[in-house]
Amino acid sequence: MPDKTRQKEAPLRNEYLPDQALVLEVRELAPGIRHFLLEFVDPVLRENFSFCSGQFLQVSLLGIGESPISICSPPTQKGSLELCVREAGNLTQALHRLQPGDSLWVRGPYGQGFPLVEMAGQDLIFIAGGIGLAPLRSAIDCAVCLNDEFGELTVLHGARSPDFLLFTDEYETWRQSGRVETIVDEAPPDWRGQIGVITALLDLVNPAPENTSVLICGPPVMFSFVLGRLKELGFDDSRIFISLERHMRCGVGKCEHCVVESFYTCRQGPVLSIEQIRGISSALR
């Protein structure tokens, strides 16, 4: 009779099992974009869950599928989490059908967020295109909450049209810690705001690079223009942080979908400094 005893290893964590959360509130922020307030069902997790701005969750519905979604509430907010979801495909469409009281499932947090701790004492510029404001809003709210720790905040937000500007009801609060400027690609005649590309906002605020960090999230088309302009303004690559989007399945460096050259967007990213990705031509596509 063969011996089946093997020395047992330390208990392994099963990364693929999600935790249940309840939807407390749903708001439509823009056409096809909804904002969810959640809380974990498990009281211990609800109490102890911690993360950094810019980190994401693997969000799923049982029988539908799973996708990476950034946490858009600040780490300073305890007991609940917020997500902002654009309807794009299988899971995100199903998420849009959720009502208060419904369940969803999450695992994480995953990836590296914005290094806000290292930015203490600095001015912060947030540059967000479209739904890219979601992860940045976590960082903005965090910086607003810890107002004394940071210098001036500048939020630059571009969207397709005025309807698609996100979190508009929070700009007043943000303005108490700095400046908020928006711009849209196109607008109806009664629109009083700016029309054009987001670099126009950089020209408008004309930021000085000294003691300033820049946090960027948006569609890839935005990157080259914004980065080009920041370079002209004299910003150092090590002070510019960008959140990258890639196809993701596992969130833990095992499925290979998110790889850009030699880094895993889900592990070393999604937030990376421009210095970290220098020379990788495919990173900013």
Binding site: G63, I64, G65, G89, N90, H96, R97
Partner: protein
């Protein structure tokens, strides 16, 4: 595809329609066997002329349409179905790509009427096109016949509120996972590398090369595939293979044009 959201507890209303075809795809529903019994318990198949005496009209949650519109009244039916359903699924390669009937594009229509429909030369037939030429199609369940797996995935996904997860990758992936003998490596004309998976690689699994009845993968490398395939098959035979089931697939047209230039 539209955002289908079945109100919870409500049963899906399904219609199964047949235009001109050999009805083999409809038969696949009956071939679901045990699954079919479970299916009729879970959803309402309210229109299915092959299996029901009394058939209801829309609205439908899902309409499966097989065949191609070959007569004006079939075109009317197709448009009526589109109006009355949330999700319209082309069932099989005829409705997806014109199927076998679309071979008419490679022959003279007058000749066809003379030889195939002898004595019915004044038949009022439409040229064969996939149904997507006439109406918006949400899903293509390709294959000749359509695959049972895809039918079940479509129904169970839509019940659950998921977009059906149909495979878009080549047959070879599933064929290798089954550890079949590779027929292409043995010199047989297997279209697996450029044909969509989803049927369970039924042909190569029994030693028969894939005939491409499920149509091309996305961005197939046809130039290289032809070079490899013609090592064991003549070019004309190969072209005939491509023309058999999915001759109207957009991905094939450049290859056919080049062929027409040759003959």
């Amino acid at each position: 595809m539209g955002n289908l959201s079945p109100a919870s507890g409500e049963r899906l209303r399904i219609g199964i329609f047949s235009l001109t075809s050999d009805a083999g795809c409809q038969l696949e529903f009956l071939n679901l066997a045990d699954d079919l019994l479970a299916l009729v318990r879970a959803v309402d198949i309210v229109h299915f002329p092959m299996a029901r005496t009394f058939n209801q009209n829309g609205p439908f949650d899902i309409a499966f349409v097989d065949g191609v519109p070959a007569r004006p009244d079939e075109l009317d039916l197709l448009q009526e179905v589109r109006r009355s359903t949330k999700v319209l699924a082309a069932l099989g390669s005829c409705s997806s790509f014109g199927g076998v009937p679309a071979a008419q594009h490679f022959h003279d229509l007058g000749d066809l009427k003379k030889y195939v429909y002898r004595g019915m030369e004044d038949l009022d037939t439409l040229e064969v096109f996939p149904i997507s030429r006439y109406v918006r199609v949400d899903l293509q369940l390709r294959g000749c016949p359509a695959s049972k797996w895809e039918i079940m995935e479509t129904v169970t996904a839509l019940i659950a509120g998921r977009l059906p997860q149909l495979k878009a990758y080549p047959q070879c992936v599933d064929c290798k996972i089954l550890e079949n003998r590779c027929l292409l490596l043995e010199g047989l004309p297997c279209l697996g590398p450029i044909t969509r998976a989803g049927c369970g690689v039924v042909c190569p699994s029994v030693g028969v090369p894939c005939d491409g009845c499920r149509g091309p993968t996305e961005e197939p490398n046809l130039t290289s595939a032809i070079e490899i395939l013609t090592r064991g098959t003549t070019y004309p035979d190969l072209i005939r293979k491509f023309q058999k089931f999915c001759s109207l697939a957009p991905e094939y047209q450049e290859m056919f044009d080049r062929w027409r230039g040759l003959v």
